[in-house]
Symmetry: C2
């Protein structure tokens, strides 16, 4: 049986006596690896190394950090089929999905590498001195973003690569110049270990300091609690449940020195179907909705869990019913996730007025944790009277809510809590009449989507994967796309600093040829 | 006697029965106005109006919001000598200082007006669709910053105009598109009322919605607590004591929906004098330091309260002593501030090893609350053994700490808590040898200053007035300069939004001609 140890900088460590096993969620017996739980001393050592490495790593140039990120991508590729097979076995996700997710994870790393090689992301601002200004001289002031310090990242269950050990949080923190300690998700420890070794190897090959990256294992909460409470940790990235994310936030703001927590805690991702669209292309929309809800066994943060449409669209109800009957479920990521899905469904079905509109299929070959897609329905009044119907169920399920006319729809939108996404389907003719709906939705969600579905989160400069509480603990940021780097920096201003001591980004002749604000005007070179 | 009422949007209100008086801190008897304390109903009404106004105000164009900000500046000017006299009487600050501060406050408003008229601050990012991309189409995504919601601002005692009712927090929040409720500082209510009326008039003249601005009075904590706890309030700006700022932060993060608190809580603003500088220009530095510590009776957030220098510089000790003997104190802003100053000094003098090195003068004409400048001294060992010596004393006092050689200086720097500023004086020859000191200081402070002093906070695009905790509750921001606007916004991304429904900042042909990122490349026009 494979043994999995902590990766603490350049050493591997198995100092503890407590262990746990990884398993394949489709089978009853743990078939995987033996994992050592991190000890308190190992956690402290990881943080100490992270602090020491930070002093060196934060001063690396954009090109040097980029080489490290690119090397991580390359080592992930080099981990070849072993990574794919291990990940498939630990998550029960299809091979093609995992292959796609590895490609996406590598692309994220390369995207941040490009961003920091170019260098303008530091938001350099220069105000030149006017020594003879009256009544007071104007000093020379130069502003840029610098790395905030050692960052703790919690791997997510549902994206074992893209939101895990070398995922978006790690990539953006490393790009910013922060050192990173990842707490692996206990549902895919062997996958995490392979990626952790890839990062360790990439760090060695590119000459990064010992401690730039560490990876710790725990199937309980102790390691996470100790990490978030450690005075040398300066920020936290998390993707997971509301309960988990909020608990970390509460810990972090109660520290002697509060630190930011970027917890992406999921969302119900409401979808509004306007009457024209339901009439004109109801069948297409119903098929696409059913596909979006059940994709990846419904285990996406952007799963569209609520769909609103006007109750007179009875034909659309039929289309939804039919579309959902054609869907197929699958094995969920872990037994506790499968259990929570079933409990959530039972709780909803116990609400008077909530009915099962349709259910999908399961094709069983004796697998465990096999979830069946279920589509629930309720009226707007039932939905209003039972606020818990607006909360996320993690899994291949949605609730369709039949509403009155436009005013009812607007009222329902106004009463939504914070969301990652909000979606509207409408015809070209009817959309302009719903401007008020968009005004409401852009205040409720990080991303407003027209005539698409929210699953499939594009990774680029214009993505916002975030949104108002309770979707996240910090609506001012995104955890996907280039803007994610700003979570791990703070601005500093240098006054009257001699040219020789200035960082290259702020030197007079702009040696990095980055875009800068000079005396309030944007400039690309040293004009 | 003048009566002062709440300004709640376009109405004035004095619904409460509780009142307090404003006074001139240099005299014993309250001589000023009678102020009504806000009632719970008045606080709620202000928030309700703020919510209603936000729906309208956040959609105003940059030009419309700029006209409002410029009108506020104009009405502040129109308030003429009445504002100056009232402010001088309530703060005991000199007329020239208040005149200068009004000019600065007006300039801040105009600076934000310029910023939002130009419009690029929204950080627009466009990623255009590639419908035939394989394996999945690329959607059209457009990203920009939007206003976060109603903001509560707490007026500061020490800048009755520039960090108060129409100060930097209010100006930046209004610029972002947020509505604002100010809780006036009880030490200058009549001043606050005049500025509040100026904003109310400016709002009317420029057609802003009722509730875009409100001003509430209270000499206790109830109004502030109620405002920060109100579910419709979305962010808080504060400048003041650690105790006050931290209490508001703790309230805000314990809400059902946590909200950001930007509390600037002061700092000791350490100054390091390198040996060459002490030798070469010790007398000049000592004079400038004494002037900076005692300026405005030492009532600045950036007051340089700690000065480190190598103990063999005995001549420099003499220069500091002499320079401080020439300083003159003055009346502090309020009796409680004067008392805290004296208590703070006595506590420090009670520490074994802390001595009074020098004291300035007071010229008394029978004024109350007249503070004498005091310069304390201690060795590095005493400073290390008594961490409270590193905390701010608000007033015209500093402590000089004699250190060993370079390593001792670096060790002291490493042990500093978060600061607004850190300053180094050195000769051109010796500065490059202290690169390690700068590496430490840029992680401790929002602004690193060479051969200047921290008082005199320039207001422009490159200023950082902020820093790591406990200087502020959010090191990722600044409360002075154009970047202060980012405290009150969050990003939103529009996916596949029809051109007609897009905000002008994100339309294809860039009608506002702002700087945007298009497919990762910075562009100024519609290329």
């Amino acid at each position: 049986m494979k043994e999995i140890r902590q990766i603490i900088g350049y050493i591997d460590s198995a100092a503890g006596e407590e262990t746990f096993h990884s398993g394949n969620p489709s089978r009853k017996e743990p078939n995987g690896s033996l994992i050592y739980r991190a000890t308190r001393a190992e956690v402290n050592l990881a943080v100490e190394k992270s602090v020491a490495a930070f002093a060196v790593y934060r001063k690396k140039s954009g090109a040097e950090k980029a080489a490290f990120l690119e090397a991580i991508a390359m080592e992930m590729e080099n981990s070849g089929d072993e990574l794919i097979q291990t990940c498939v076995s630990e998550t029960a996700l299809p091979k093609a999905r995992i292959e796609g997710e590895r490609a996406r994870t590598m692309n994220q790393l390369k995207m941040f590498a490009l961003l920091i090689k170019e260098g303008s992301w530091v938001d350099a601002r220069i105000e030149t001195a006017i020594p003879d200004r009256s009544p007071l001289p104007k000093p020379d002031l130069r502003f840029m973003n610098i790395a905030i310090g050692p960052v703790v990242v919690f791997g997510a269950s549902n994206f074992p690569l893209a939101f895990s050990v070398a995922g978006g949080d790690t990539a953006s923190a490393l790009a910013a110049g922060c050192t990173v300690i990842v707490k692996a998700h206990p549902a895919h420890p062997a996958t995490s270990a392979i990626v952790g070794k890839a990062i360790q190897l990439a760090a060695r090959k590119t000459g990064m300091p010992d401690g730039v990256f560490s990876l710790l294992f725990d199937n309980g909460i102790e390691t996470g609690v100790q990490l978030v409470g450690h005075p040398s940790v300066k920020a936290v990235g998390f993707t997971g449940s509301f309960k988990g994310g909020k608990a970390l936030f509460d810990l972090a703001v109660r520290r002697a020195e509060p630190i930011p927590v970027y917890a992406e805690m999921g969302s119900s991702n409401p979808v509004f179907i306007l009457p024209g669209a339901a009439k004109e292309k109801g069948k297409l929309i119903a098929d696409a909705y059913a596909a979006s809800v059940t994709m990846g066994v419904g285990q996406f943060c952007t799963n569209p869990g609520i769909l609103f449409y006007q109750q007179e669209q009875t034909e659309f109800t039929g289309s939804l019913k039919e579309a959902f009957e054609k869907t197929t479920g699958g094995v969920m990521l872990a037994p506790y996730i499968f259990n929570a899905y079933n409990v959530g469904l039972q709780e909803r079905l116990a609400v008077i007025g909530v009915e099962e509109l349709s259910a999908g299929n399961i094709v069983s070959n004796g697998e465990e944790n096999l979830a069946r897609p279920v589509l629930l329905s309720a009226t707007a009044d039932v939905f209003r009277d039972n606020p818990n119907l607006g909360e996320e169920i993690f899994g291949p399920s949605g609730i369709v809510v039949t509403t009155g006319a436009k005013d009812d729809l607007l009222d329902l939108a106004r009463n939504l809590s914070g969301q990652l996404t909000a979606t509207v389907h409408g015809t070209t003719e009817e959309l302009p009449g719903y401007r008020e709906l968009f005004d409401i939705l852009e205040q409720k969600a990080g991303r407003v989507i027209i005539n698409n579905f929210p699953t499939g989160v594009e990774v680029n400069s214009a993505m916002v994967h975030g949104g108002p509480f309770p979707a996240t603990t910090d609506s001012r940021t995104t955890s996907v796309g280039t803007a994610a780097i700003f979570r791990f920096v703070r601005p500093v201003s240098y006054q009257n600093m001699p040219e020789a001591l200035l960082p290259p980004e702020l030197k007079d002749d702009n040696p990095m040829a980055i875009s800068r604000m000079v005396n309030g005007i944007r400039k690309q070179d040293h004009e």
